[in-house]
Amino acid sequence: MSAPRPPIESGCPDGFQYMHPMMRKHYGNWDYHEDPRPGVLKHVTKSGEALYTVKAGTQRILDVYTLRLLCDIGDQFADGHVHFTIRSNIEYMVADEARVQPLIDKLESHGFVVGGTRNSVAMISHTQGWLHCDIPGTDASGVVKSMMDELIDEFKNWNMPNRVHLTTSCCQINCGGQGDIAINVQHTKPPKINHDLVANVCERPSVVARCPVAAIRPAMVDGKPSLEVDEKKCICCGACFPPCPPMQINDAEHSKLAIWVGGNHSNARSKPTFQKLVAAGIPNNPPRWPEATAIVKKILKVYKEDAKDWERINDWIERIGWPRFFELTELPFTKFHIDNWRGARNSLNASAHIRF
C-alpha cells in the first residue's frame, strides 16, 4: 500500500479564473443597474457596456444530470460562465441582449424558474433536514419544494411591496437564518432519555453545560450513570440532543413548526432586525406541509395588500403595529408571544403609544 497523500492546503480558490470575461474586465467599474423584467438584471459599466444577468431557481440539491444540463445551457447562451447566489439560484451572464429571451425560454423549457429579483418572493434558503442532518425535526428540501410550488407566481413576478426572503430550519439552531418569514421546527416536549446509552455515548459535563436554562443534571438511573432533566425548567430547545443523541428531542407528533416574521439582514432604512414569533403549534406534516404553507400565504397576502412600496415586512409592521398585524393575519396572540428571555423588557411597550 502506498503512503497516504498529503493534502494541498490551497484554501479558498481565486474567483477571477472562473468569472465571466466582462466581469473580469470591468471589475470595480460598474455604473448602475436596471431591472428590465423579473429575473433579469441589466448592469452597465462606466464605459457604457451592458451585461445582462438571468436568474433562475432550481431544486438546489442538484443531481449530476441537472448540473450538466445547467452547464449545457451556460455553454449555449452564456459563454460558459455561471454564478450562484447566496440563496442557491443560478445566474447566467449575457453581454448580448438578443440572447436574453432565448436563454429564458431554454431555462423555462427545462422547468427552471426565472425570477427572484427585486420585489419578488426569493428562493427559500434552507438546509438539509431528513436527507442528511443528524438532528433534524423535519425535512428541508421537501418543505421548500411544497412551498415554492405554491409561491412560484410570487417568485416570477414583482407583486410584493419589497423583496421577501423566506427561510426554513429543521431545528431551533436555525441554520436557515433570519428571514422576512421563517418556518422553523419548534419542539414542545422535553427530550426522552435512553438511559442505557447515555454513559457510553455522551460526555455528560458537556451536555450539562450545553443547556441554556441549566435544566440538566447528572444522575444515577437504574444503577447507571446518566442524566436527568428538570422538566419544569426545560424549554424543549433540543440543545442537548446534538452532543447526546440518547436525549431524543424529535417527536413525530410533538415536534411542531413555528412561523417567525420580520428578520432582515439589510441595513437599508433600519438596522438589521431579528425575526419575531407569530404562529406556532403548526403540524409537521409531510409530504406537503399544507398548514404551514397556508399561514405563509396568508401573511404574504396581507403584506401585499397593506404595505407601501419599499417596506420590508419588518418596516411594514413597525408602521402598522403588532396588534394590527395579528388582526389582519387573523393569527391568535398568546402569552407565548411575550418574550421572557434575557433582555425581554426591551420588547415591552413602556409608553402610552397605542393605535386605536
Binding site: 472562473y18 448592469h43 449530476v64 452547464c71 449545457d72 454564478h83 425535526g137 410550488d149
Partner: protein, 416 residues
C-alpha cells in the same frame, strides 16, 4: 428496478417548482453506474421512511481525510440494515471560489470526479457557503478529495474551527460595491487555512464579506467577523439623473419612497427638482441608492465597517455582530495586513478566553465589550454603541485616566 416504494416522496414530483426527487430518481433509474443506482434507491428508501415516521435517521461519527481534522460531515445510517447501499453517506464540504463564480468546464470536471466516487448529488451552496458534495462512503471520501484537491479544490471547515467564508458578487458586477470583496475574503480566509483544517478553537468562527450595507451575505447576523463595505466622503449625486427620475416617477414618489424613508432625514428635494444630501448625517444605509441606482452612488473614499460576534440562538440567544472598527481603509497591502492582524488578535483572544462551545459574540456578552476591546487592543469609540450606559451601577474611579486617553487620541488624530 427500484427496491423501495416511495409513495410520499412521489407527491413531491407534482407541482411546477423543479423537483429534487425527480433528480434522485434519475440517478436511480438512468445512471449507467449500478453503484449510483443502488445508492440513490437506498437513499430514497430511507428518506421515505423518514417521511412516514417523521424522524431523521442519520448519526455523526468520525471521518476525515489524511492530514485534516475537519471538512467532512460524517453520516452513518441508524437504519443501515434496511437501507444498506447508503448506510455511509458523508458530505464533503469544499470551499467555493471567492464570489461563487464557476466555469461550466470546471463544474463538469467536478461532476465527473463526484460521479466516480460519490452519490451524484451536489448543492451550490450550503448555508455556511461550502459546495456540498452529498453522499459518499468512508473509503471513497479520501479518493474523491485526492482527485479534486489535485486540481485546485480544498476542504472547508466543520466543527470548532474557522469555517468557510463567503463574499458577495460585489465589484464583479455591482455598482454599489465599496470593496474588493474577493480580495478581502481570500486574504482573511486563506490566512487561517490551518485553523480551517484543524479544529482547535472554542467553537466555529466565520468570515463574511458584503460590499455595502445591503449586506447580501447576511454577514452582520451570520458571521463572527463581518466586513461591510462603506465610504466616508460624500455620496455621488448625478442631478441630471435625479431630474430624470422626477420626470418618470414623479416628485411625490421620490418624496414618499426616498426622502421620507431616509432613517436620518438626510435628504430633501430642492425647488429645481434636484436632491440635497446632508452627508454628515447619512448613515450609508443604502436605501436611496437602491431606489435611485442611476442617480446615486457611493463616494470615492471607500473602506469597510467591521462588526464582530454575530450568531443565531444557541446558547444565549441571537446576537448581531457589533461595530469594532467603524471605518477601515482597504487599499494598500498594509491595510490588508492590518485587517488580518485584527482577525488574528480576535481569534487568539477568543481561543484563549472563550469557553467550550462559546461563540466569540457570546464571550463578548459574558465579559463585556470594554474588556474584549482591551484584550484585542482596540480603542473604544462611540460608534460601537446605540447609546451610552444607562445603569449607574458601575465603578468609575479611573475616569480621569480614561478621559485623558480620549483627549490624547483626539490630539494624535488631529496631528496625523
Amino acid at each position: 428496478m427500484a427496491k423501495y416504494d416511495t409513495p410520499m416522496l412521489d407527491e413531491l414530483e407534482n407541482g411546477p417548482w423543479p423537483s429534487f426527487i425527480s433528480g434522485f430518481k434519475r440517478l436511480r433509474d438512468d445512471h449507467p453506474d449500478k453503484r449510483i443506482n443502488q445508492v440513490a434507491d437506498s437513499l430514497l428508501g430511507q428518506l421515505e421512511h423518514s417521511y412516514e415516521t417523521r424522524k431523521g435517521y442519520w448519526k455523526g461519527g468520525t471521518v476525515s481525510v489524511f492530514g485534516y481534522g475537519s471538512g467532512i460531515i460524517p453520516r452513518f445510517s441508524e437504519v443501515g440494515k434496511a437501507f444498506p447501499e447508503s448506510k455511509e453517506f458523508h458530505t464533503v464540504r469544499v470551499q467555493p471560489p471567492a464570489g461563487n463564480h464557476y466555469t461550466t468546464g470546471m463544474l463538469r470536471q467536478l461532476a465527473d470526479s463526484w460521479e466516480k466516487y460519490g452519490s451524484g448529488l451536489i448543492t451550490f451552496h450550503g448555508q455556511t457557503g461550502n459546495i456540498m458534495f452529498i453522499g459518499v462512503d468512508t473509503v471513497n471520501t479520501q479518493h474523491f478529495f485526492d482527485d479534486i484537491n489535485e486540481y485546485g479544490w480544498d476542504l472547508g471547515g466543520a466543527g470548532p474551527c474557522v469555517r468557510t467564508g463567503m463574499s458577495c458578487v460585489g465589484a464583479s458586477r455591482c455598482e454599489q460595491s465599496c470593496l474588493d470583496e474577493q480580495k478581502v475574503h481570500r486574504t482573511l480566509q486563506n490566512n487561517f487555512t490551518d485553523d480551517v483544517h484543524r479544529p482547535a478553537l472554542p467553537y466555529k468562527f466565520k468570515f463574511k464579506v458584503s460590499g455595502c450595507g445591503n449586506d447580501c451575505q447576511n454577514a452582520i447576523e451570520r458571521s463572527d467577523f463581518a466586513v461591510i463595505g462603506t465610504w466616508r466622503d460624500d455620496m455621488k449625486v448625478n442631478q441630471e439623473a435625479i431630474k430624470g427620475y422626477m420626470k418618470t416617477k414623479g416628485r411625490d414618489y421620490i418624496q414618499e419612497n426616498v426622502v421620507s424613508r431616509c432613517p436620518t432625514q438626510a435628504l430633501s428635494i430642492n425647488d429645481d427638482d434636484t436632491l440635497a444630501v446632508d452627508n454628515r448625517n447619512c448613515v450609508r444605509c443604502m436605501h436611496c441608492l437602491n431606489v435611485l441606482p442611476k442617480a446615486l452612488s457611493p463616494g470615492d473614499d471607500k473602506g469597510a465597517t467591521i462588526c464582530v460576534g454575530g450568531k443565531r440562538t444557541l446558547k444565549i440567544g441571537d446576537l448581531m455582530g457589533t461595530v469594532i472598527v467603524p471605518f477601515k481603509k482597504l487599499q494598500s497591502e498594509e491595510d490588508y495586513e492590518e485587517i488580518v492582524e485584527l482577525a488574528e488578535e480576535i481569534i487568539d483572544f477568543w481561543a484563549e478566553n472563550g469557553l467550550e462551545h462559546e461563540r466569540c459574540g457570546e464571550m463578548i456578552e459574558r465579559i463585556g465589550l470594554a474588556n474584549f476591546l482591551e484584550g484585542i487592543g482596540v480603542d473604544v469609540d462611540p460608534n460601537m454603541v446605540n447609546n451610552p450606559r444607562q445603569s449607574s451601577y458601575v465603578r468609575m474611579d479611573t475616569w480621569d485616566e480614561e478621559a485623558e486617553k480620549w483627549f490624547q487620541r483626539k490630539a494624535e488624530a488631529a496631528n496625523a
